[in-house]
């Protein structure tokens, strides 16, 4: 499949899945109720579709797209199929920011936890950016990212340790497992500006990703302003991840897997892969959230749990098959 065809396929696939995700849910609606939802959006069925499910699906799609794009950009920049915001510690930074805010009792302040998550992710992103300017070897950067991630995780555990009450602990834990339950349109609107800025930075860095295929030195002599492109790529990925963590908590696997799902279709082009990766990420999240909602479990499954539970084995299978195309 060529890149434009793959992108179109994913785009329409996402639209169909999003429509299904809005239509289907825990509360079964009759045909008449669906008609009522369309004719009178303010009616109870309309409320269920447009105020409960639709924003949730929108946030899931936005978060998935942000994580997928961020993963694709980081894999291209670091020339490494293992790179993703989780591995580089950006997600852990966001998680730590949110955990701190919740522990400090800021959960009641509107937007405080989200802002703290964004700030945490950006702080971790700044560390990665600083390291990327200093160390050019992708492996070094990934090791530093792993260290940042572990340190962020340790500090989050410390927050648990000193957490004033079990309620706070439960709140932090629930947040770290990731969810888009009860999100409304304001959550989607809130996530959009940082994601748009992150997207712009990633698009700016795009030509550098293709040139990085040949390594640091060839890229440096290609005429592209690699120092600026690198900074833009890291900052863009951090903004996208930060906004995603702020909107939904920490969700693993999507940033890693989405690029791999579309890599073969994009003929391994690390620049052409950006749009399909974003769309694949959105599809994964919408499907995962739909599963979380409709699986007949006593307590609704957390989104991060679903992505990991279903995604990890699928990803292992893809990795098995695709290992050949990564690197000889």
């Amino acid at each position: 499949m060529t890149v434009p065809r793959q992108t179109l396929f994913l785009f329409f696939g996402l639209l169909v899945l999003a429509a299904v995700a809005v239509a289907v849910g825990e509360t079964a609606l009759s045909g008449a109720q669906y008609r009522q939802a369309f004719s009178d959006p303010g009616s109870p069925p309309g409320e269920i579709l447009w105020s409960l499910r639709a924003p949730r699906v929108a946030v899931a799609a936005l978060v998935g797209a942000a994580l997928g794009l961020s993963g694709a950009v980081l894999q291209g920049l670091l020339r490494n199929p293992l790179a993703e915001p989780g591995v580089l510690g950006v997600s852990a930074g966001g998680g730590l920011g949110a955990a701190l805010a919740i522990a400090l009792g800021l959960a009641a302040v509107s937007g405080a936890v989200e802002l703290a998550a964004l700030a945490g992710a950006l702080a971790a992103g700044a560390l990665v950016a600083f390291a990327s300017a200093r160390f050019r070897e992708p492996e070094t950067l990934i090791l530093i990212g792993v260290a940042i991630s572990a340190f962020g995780g340790a500090l989050t555990a410390l927050v648990f340790n000193f957490s004033p009450s079990p309620v706070t602990s439960a709140e932090v834990l629930s947040w770290l497992m990731g969810s888009v339950a009860n999100r409304d349109w304001s959550d989607a609107a809130w996530a959009l500006p940082p994601m748009a800025l992150g997207l712009a930075l990633c698009l700016y860095a795009r030509p550098g990703l293709l040139m990085m295929t040949l390594g640091e030195e060839t890229a440096a002599l290609s005429g592209l302003p690699m120092a600026r492109l690198r900074a833009a790529a890291v900052a863009g990925a951090a903004l996208l991840t930060g906004a995603a963590v702020a909107a939904s908590g920490v969700i693993g696997f999507v940033g890693l897997a989405a690029p791999h799902l579309v890599r073969a279709g994009a003929r391994n082009d690390p620049a052409a892969i950006l749009a399909p990766s974003a769309l694949a990420g959105a599809v994964l999240m919408v499907v995962a959230d739909l599963l979380a909602r409709i699986l007949p479990t006593e307590v609704e499954l957390k989104l991060g749990v679903v992505t990991a539970l279903f995604g990890a084995p699928v990803f292992a299978a893809i990795a098995w098959r695709a290992a050949k195309s990564w690197r000889s």
């Binding site: 295929t213 060839t218 391994n268 690197r327």
Partner: protein, 252 residues
């Protein structure tokens, strides 16, 4: 001949160890210059110093008379193209896409045409669509050479362009670079095969322990004294009907 690239008394240290010491060289349009020396003699560092990739601790590196450190990324790319020794390609793009990265200054269609022509020049016309990680190391090296060959840069620098190639492909690679020099470009290569170096280069720079030991025509640069000092070889450059040959054995 105008000097396209110049190192003057250039020194480079890596981890406080001097790897290039007061090295000077000049490469002009129309000539092919080879850099030879034992492992660790400083060949790659010499190239990197000239390209502004290795910071100098002394001396200057100039491209077309301008200090390389003061050139913008775009200016430097318009003056020089580089094929590093590192052959790792991160993703298995089709060969023609990799080769086309040497023509990013041209529209997509022209870049593709140039890439296909470049692959044909290195004998890979029938592998243009193959993923580079599904190729042998030697084939991949030729794809990277094609990328270098299709650039418009007046100076072409290649670090061991023949490494990993079969004998025929080694001749082919150096012939293609030789053609570029004949066509008016300046070509600077590092080589390990002294016979190939003698046959294809106008001039050889002999490096030993980070210092330029000789900078002369192959017949002079490959003197028995230089072979002994730079390579610990007991040898000589011999003329044969097929061209000059370096015959040597280890000094014990």
């Amino acid at each position: 001949m105008s000097s396209l690239a110049q190192l003057s008394e250039a020194s480079v240290s890596l981890a406080d160890r001097p790897v290039l010491q007061a090295a000077s060289l000049s490469v002009s349009a129309g000539e092919m210059v080879g850099v030879i020396g034992a492992n660790g003699a400083g060949k790659t560092t010499l190239l990197r110093a000239l390209l502004g990739l290795a910071p100098l601790t002394g001396g200057t590196a100039r491209l077309q008379g301008r200090e390389v450190a003061h050139l913008s990324d775009a200016e430097r790319a318009s003056l020089v193209a580089y094929m590093p020794q590192e052959r790792r390609v991160a993703w298995s793009l089709p060969a023609w896409r990799i080769a086309a990265l040497g023509a990013t200054d041209r529209p997509a269609g022209a870049a593709r045409d140039a890439a296909l022509a470049g692959l044909a020049r290195v004998g890979l016309a029938n592998l243009a669509e193959r993923g580079v990680l599904d190729m042998s190391g030697g084939e991949r090296a030729r794809v990277l050479l094609a990328r270098l060959l299709i650039t418009h840069a007046p100076l072409m620098v290649a670090d061991e362009p023949t490494a990993g190639l079969d004998p025929d492909a080694q001749f082919l690679a150096l012939e293609r670079l030789r053609e570029k020099a004949t066509g008016g470009r300046a070509v600077l290569v590092t080589l390990h095969d002294l016979t190939l170096a003698a046959r294809t280069c106008d001039r050889l720079i002999v490096l030993a322990n980070g210092r330029v030991l000789a900078d002369a025509a192959p017949s002079l640069a490959l003197s028995s004294a230089n072979l002994a000092r730079a390579f610990q070889l007991d040898g000589a450059l011999i003329d044969t009907p097929a061209g000059p040959v370096v015959a040597a054995r280890r000094l014990v």
